[in-house]
């Protein structure tokens, strides 16, 4: 795999952000005046990934559609970065028949077998499943890898420990990714995690552990590259923690009073303008290219949302289908 163009990483982030921003808007649009979580075109809980794009694009740059990802309750950035179709993703979020899961799954339960992509709303529980996907890949003699994503809050769930041990013991091609955005809903990392770096925990499984302190696509790209390459070579799993930022609420509707003064610093911590400035400086981006990227992303998002909105709502009788194959 050749190193991706930095402008492409940038474009990937912009595309994700535009998607999330649009979902944000659509989600809230029809929940007023009395804000009702279950109302509107997009109902239910909504966990958006703004700020965490560097993790998704930096990791996914090393993957192909044959590689697996198990994502979390906050899954859109990884889905998009991994190549899951934006239209079918949007349609699933809208609960339409054309969605990835024909409206049955929803935003926390996205399945795209053509990209070996899945996610789960239960904390930490994608880790074991990724181990099993890696087992299958290994047993079949491929060099594919499975990427398991979790938040820093999830790293204190039993499944984390069991999965790391299993993957190390069986030398499975897994890359365990922890998105440390400092918060698990309202609980700060200091109240959830007895170590400043989850990378330290990797040693307890005899696997390499790296913490990327900067929420930067280049840094993630490099660290993830080493981990993915190691897995592809058959040398086993790695742990990669990235210190990222959750720019918005835990879920939409979260007033975030618990964040206090931190809220005012968030704009400065947005990774996209920072990266854009850097690439403009090095000449890897030009103002024109920035415009083009923005326009292309907007167009793609518009098309996806339109597709979703125009797609049929599932007929009630479908509810009784698909319990068994």
């Amino acid at each position: 795999m050749t190193t991706p163009d930095r402008a492409d990483l940038y474009a990937g982030m912009v595309r994700i952000r535009k998607f999330e921003a649009r979902i944000l808007q659509e989600y809230h649009a029809d929940k007023s005046p009395a804000w009702d979580i279950g109302a509107g075109l997009i109902p239910g809980e909504m966990h958006l990934s703004a700020g965490q794009e560097p993790v998704a694009v930096g990791v996914s740059a090393h993957l192909t559609a044959d590689d697996a990802i198990t994502a979390t309750h906050r899954p859109h950035h990884f889905a998009l970065a991994h190549g899951v179709d934006m239209k079918r993703l949007a349609a699933e979020i809208y609960g339409r028949t054309t969605g990835l899961c024909h409206g049955k799954g929803g935003h926390m339960h996205l399945f795209d077998p053509s990209h070996h992509f899945s996610c789960s709303g239960i904390i930490g529980q994608g880790y074991p499943v990724a181990c099993g996907q890696a087992m299958a890949m290994k047993r079949r003699g491929t060099d594919h890898v499975a990427v398991a994503v979790a938040g820093e809050g999830a790293a204190n769930q039993g499944a984390f420990h069991e999965s790391l041990n299993l993957a190390a013991l069986w030398n499975l091609p897994v890359v365990f990714v922890i998105e440390d955005n400092d918060w698990a809903i309202s609980v700060p990392r200091s109240h959830s995690t007895a170590t400043p770096s989850n990378a330290d925990r990797a040693a307890g499984y005899g696997m390499p552990g790296v913490r990327v302190e900067h929420n930067d696509p280049d840094a993630v790209l490099e660290a993830a590259g080493a981990a993915v390459a190691r897995a592809r070579r058959g040398e086993g799993p790695s742990l990669l923690e990235v210190h990222t930022v959750r720019l918005w609420g835990h879920f939409e509707g979260d007033a975030q009073a618990y964040r206090g003064a931190e809220l005012e610093t968030l704009d400065e911590r947005d990774p996209i303008p920072a990266y854009e400035a850097r690439l403009l400086e090095t000449g890897e981006l030009t103002p024109e290219r920035v415009e083009e990227i923005s326009a292309a992303a907007t167009a793609e998002v518009d098309e996806a949302i339109e597709f979703a909105r125009d797609s049929p709502v599932p007929p009630p009788e479908d509810a009784l289908r698909d319990v068994f194959a």
Partner: protein
């Protein structure tokens, strides 16, 4: 239920729960709260609102996302004589801590031959109706009622929310307290007006194990719990206009189960509808059928009706979700059908 003379005011079920916890915390240092986001956030579904401000971080404790560890820690503290109130954010997350709940919390008293008590409350949110899909919408009370050792308490209104919580904390046994998100009276969720009601300010209890006849009637018995009680009362009011007299039995707890209340009502009406937001098979409606069938099958003048989630995971899209939930439409249709 304990008589009370304190003034009442209209509050939500969530406020009523939190108020009962606060009263018990004031009475005894042994009572403390732990769970995810129970502190400054006040509980995702408002069950601990205000407690952190009054009692501080030592007694209202935010936990890591380690349900096995913190539910287990609740058990350990209870074994030492404290009275922890532990929140499992959604009952759907039971699976990551099921061993602590059913092999330890529920069994220690029996295994010890009665030597050890586990006076602990595990409270958790249930229910669907706002597109939270398969992993955040379940009711699961049937699951816990099947497994011995836990009391299973399910309030349907603010008064019971407070009184049953007080009883649960005072109980020397482990109590699973299941509250419906849609019956908490939360500002950010569609709600039935019955989720906000008059509740006395002071201390009172509602006994665990006594069903309430939420509405008397003579034609059809609806046996149900939780939010479905509110729906059933709405339907009963509606059908009264059509001349159908519906009795609504709110079980309020599945363990202990008030069998007499069910049998008495069915003996009177001869027609039974069980409304259950949990999965249909091997659950609440089956148990209701069994207590009749083993007592006197001829009590039923008509085949019983079961309105429950038809053994499918809860789907996301609203059209699908409402197709499988026991809505007022379906309740009314089932009652009419029983009368036809």
């Amino acid at each position: 239920m304990t008589a009370t003379t304190t003034p009442t005011r209209r509050i939500t079920a969530a406020m009523a729960m939190a108020e009962a916890i606060a009263i018990e915390m004031r009475k005894s240092d042994d009572v403390f709260v732990m769970g995810e986001d129970v502190g400054p956030y006040g509980g995702i579904f408002g069950s601990t609102t205000g407690l952190y401000d009054e009692f501080g971080p030592e007694r209202v404790i935010d936990t890591p996302i380690s349900e096995t560890a913190f539910i287990g820690a609740g058990i350990g503290a209870a074994v030492e004589g404290m009275r922890p109130v532990v929140e499992l954010m959604f009952i759907d997350f039971y699976g990551v801590a099921m061993d602590q709940i059913t092999n330890h919390m529920a069994k220690i008293h029996y295994e010890s031959g009665g030597e050890v008590n586990v006076p602990m409350v595990l409270m958790s949110a249930t229910g669907a109706g706002y597109s939270d899909a398969a992993q955040h919408s379940q009711s699961l009370w049937g699951t816990f009622a099947h497994l011995p050792g836990l009391k299973v308490v399910i309030p349907s209104n603010p008064y019971d929310s407070k009184g049953l919580m007080a009883s649960a904390i005072q109980d020397d046994n482990p109590v699973l307290y299941l509250f419906h998100k849609g019956a908490q009276g939360l500002v950010w969720m569609k709600k039935n007006p019955r989720s906000i009601a008059e509740v006395p300010e002071g201390e009172f209890t509602v006994p665990i194990g006594e069903a309430a006849i939420a509405r008397e009637g003579t034609d059809v018995t609806i046996v149900t719990v939780s939010l479905s009680v509110q729906h059933s009362l709405d339907v009963a009011e509606e059908l009264a206009g059509e001349g159908i007299s519906v009795e609504v039995v709110d079980l309020r707890s599945l363990v202990p189960l008030d069998r007499e209340a069910v049998l008495n009502s069915v003996a009177k009406t001869g027609r039974l509808l069980v409304v259950d937001e949990d999965y249909r098979s091997f659950g609440l409606s089956g148990e209701m059928a069994a207590i009749i069938a083993e007592t006197d099958p001829t009590l039923l003048k008509r085949p019983m009706r079961r309105l429950a989630v038809p053994d499918v995971p809860i789907p996301y899209a609203r059209s699908l979700e409402y197709a499988i939930l026991p809505t007022t439409d379906k309740i009314a249709a089932a009652v009419r059908d029983l009368m036809s």
